[in-house]
């Protein structure tokens, strides 16, 4: 699928429209001119959410009441017109001028973003990694979101109950109730554990194929290991039996602790480069390439599932990636998927101008580059450290994916 055109009004600082090529499209320009805003507009048009904020209404530009994005997509020979209208408390979606429910709208333009905010998957808390896997599982099995949401509800209820029990003079009065909640926890927890483990296995298969990492970046071999909290406590392949056994064994401990100690909300994902934990031993550049390899693996799973390429966004491509790795990444993607890249370096735009459509972004306008001389612009400190909110997800999904 490709996006041939997008038009924005009332969306951050964007002005006018842009028409795109089927391959590589590069936005470059000074800081705070709107490069990332164009990527964000494409993301919102496809996914109806933003990757920079959990509240898409924050995209409405100052002084406007609503923002409107209109785009044209092409899949094979099928053209479609998509439209997203965001107001303070509403979001309307249209396909070919007809209003659609979100479930019918999604899937017309699937957009994946590779951005620096995602580095928290490598460097951040385990919950960031669980969210990363969960997003992947949800993209394969949308109903997984429902399972996660029910699991989180049960954990919340159980935590409240355990807190109450721990303060009580006769905590054993609560055992029956805790067990009643545990029954559901076992079913839901096993579905989550198994779903995540299967997905991680699929990612590993892709990463192993042709030794993906080495082939692209000439360096590390990346693979993953889903690290269940119950590992080493018994037969992990029969998760629900093991989970039941452990919950029974630790009932008293949980009651004494006053909160849930067991379950997949305590699991983690190990990301290994040449069998060493990349978060601990990898350089910044290695960490960013590891993340890109994971992202590419997710895209590859998407492509093989749906037999179609999604649209890719790479925000701030030069951040933490050297010239060689940028070249390797773009060559890997070339010809596979329509890709939008933002950079503040003129040199990158220049280097690819024969293979890409290049847009100079100035005060919100994307101007097709005619090769006029702009200086070599380095990203400033403020641009690097600009504050971003968490990536992806509308409010509900945000809450669900972030676990209890």
């Amino acid at each position: 699928m490709i996006l041939t055109r997008i038009e924005a009004s009332g969306f951050r600082n964007l002005e006018g429209f842009s028409e795109f090529g089927a391959g590589l499209n590069i936005f470059y320009g000074d800081n705070a001119q709107g490069k990332t805003n164009w990527l964000e507009a494409i993301y919102v048009l496809g996914n109806t959410k933003s990757f920079r904020t959990s509240q898409v209404r924050e995209c409405i530009s100052f002084g406007a009441n609503e923002c409107l994005l209109r785009g044209e997509t092409l899949r094979g020979t099928v053209e479609k017109q998509l439209q997203v209208l965001v107001a303070e408390s509403s979001k309307e979606l249209y396909v070919n001028g007809k209003r659609e429910a979100v479930i019918r709208y999604i899937g017309n333009l699937d957009v994946f973003v590779f951005s620096l905010e995602e580095m928290s998957v490598i460097r951040g808390e385990p919950k960031e990694r669980r969210r990363f896997i969960d997003r992947g599982v949800v993209s394969q099995t949308p109903a997984f979101l429902n399972t996660l949401s029910r699991y989180n509800q049960v954990i919340k209820q159980k935590n409240r109950l355990l807190a109450e029990a721990s303060k009580s003079n006769s905590p054993e009065r609560f055992y029956n109730q805790v067990e009643a909640w545990n029954e559901q926890l076992i079913d839901l927890g096993a579905a989550i554990h198994d779903g995540r483990r299967d997905y991680v296995e699929r990612l590993n298969l892709v990463l192993d194929e042709n030794d993906h990492g080495r082939a692209i970046f000439g360096a590390e071999r990346i693979n993953l290991r889903y690290k269940s909290q119950l590992e080493g406590k018994g037969d992990i392949d029969r998760y629900s039996e093991l989970f039941r056994e452990r919950l029974a064994l630790r009932l008293r401990t949980e009651v004494a602790a006053g909160h849930s100690l067991l379950g997949p909300h305590r699991d983690d994902l190990e990301i290994l480069a040449d069998n060493r934990e990349v978060a601990r031993y990898g350089s910044a550049g290695q960490q960013r390439s590891a993340l890109l390899l994971l992202d590419l693996a997710q895209v590859s799973i998407y492509t093989s599932t749906y037999e179609e390429s999604p649209v890719l966004l790479i925000d701030d491509i030069d951040a933490e990636l050297d010239r060689g790795r940028i070249e390797a990444l773009l060559s890997e993607i070339e010809g596979q998927a329509q890709t939008f890249v933002s950079t503040s370096r003129r040199a990158i735009a220049d280097r690819y101008k024969d293979r890409a459509s290049v847009y100079w972004v100035d005060r919100g306008r994307a101007i097709v580059d005619s090769g006029s001389g702009k200086g070599n612009i380095e990203p400033s400190e403020s641009e690097r450290s600009r504050e971003h909110t968490r990536s992806a997800g509308d409010e509900l999904e945000q809450e669900i994916l972030s676990d209890g």
Partner: protein, 199 residues
């Protein structure tokens, strides 16, 4: 100064206490009442007073009723060997509408929810066990809602009931009729598969 004269403000404030009624709806309802015939408003007042005076909870099954025991509990045609447990009186009405079920009921008036401060003592569980002591019950059907709270309640009750020796069943769960398999989650699908039957 108040936006409206005191009696109107009072009425709006009282209406706002009702579930699902916000400020705007309360205002609209208040003005409707203000303009309505005296006879109409009196009927409303009377209806409210009547439910408060005449409706009581059945001393056997806790269903809302105007006679005690309620019409289900006192009906000799109903099968006294089966008790179906529901959360709310309106759940009972839904089941009754099917005309398939001929046994007795028990209304819990809620479901376990530690977050909302509802434990077993807040539910009408005690008099269920009193009934079991007096009556010859062969089966208990747990028909609490298929959400997390209803499930926990059913699990809790079954833990207590099973040792008493009667048959304890849970209503079947799975894909809803008239829906699409695409929208069923793994756990629902898992339940639907586990409860599958020959056709």
């Amino acid at each position: 100064m108040l936006d409206y004269a005191e009696p109107v403000t009072k009425l709006i404030d009282e209406l706002k206490r009702l579930p699902g009624v916000g400020h705007k709806s309360a205002q609209r309802l208040a003005f409707y009442i203000l303009r309505a015939d005296r006879a109409e408003t009196e009927r409303l007042v009377e209806a409210i007073n009547e439910v408060k005076e005449k409706i009581i909870s059945c001393s056997v099954c806790n269903n809302i009723t105007d006679v005690d025991p309620c019409r289900y509990c006192s009906n000799p045609a109903r099968d006294r060997r089966i008790i179906l447990v529901v959360e709310e009186p309106y759940n009972l009405v839904t089941i009754e509408k099917t005309r398939e079920y001929k046994g007795l009921y028990h209304v819990l008036h809620g479901a376990l929810s530690p977050i909302r401060g509802i434990g077993p003592d807040e539910l009408k569980i005690k008099n269920l066990f009193e009934r079991l002591r007096v009556e010859e019950v062969e089966e208990i059907i747990l028909a609490t809602n298929p959400n997390t709270e209803g499930e926990a309640t059913a699990n809790y009750l079954s833990k207590l009931l099973k040792p008493l020796g009667m048959r304890v069943t849970r209503i079947a769960m799975g894909v809803p009729v008239g829906s699409d398999l695409e929208y069923a989650d793994e756990v629902t699908m898992h339940k639907a598969l586990a409860n599958r039957h020959e056709i």
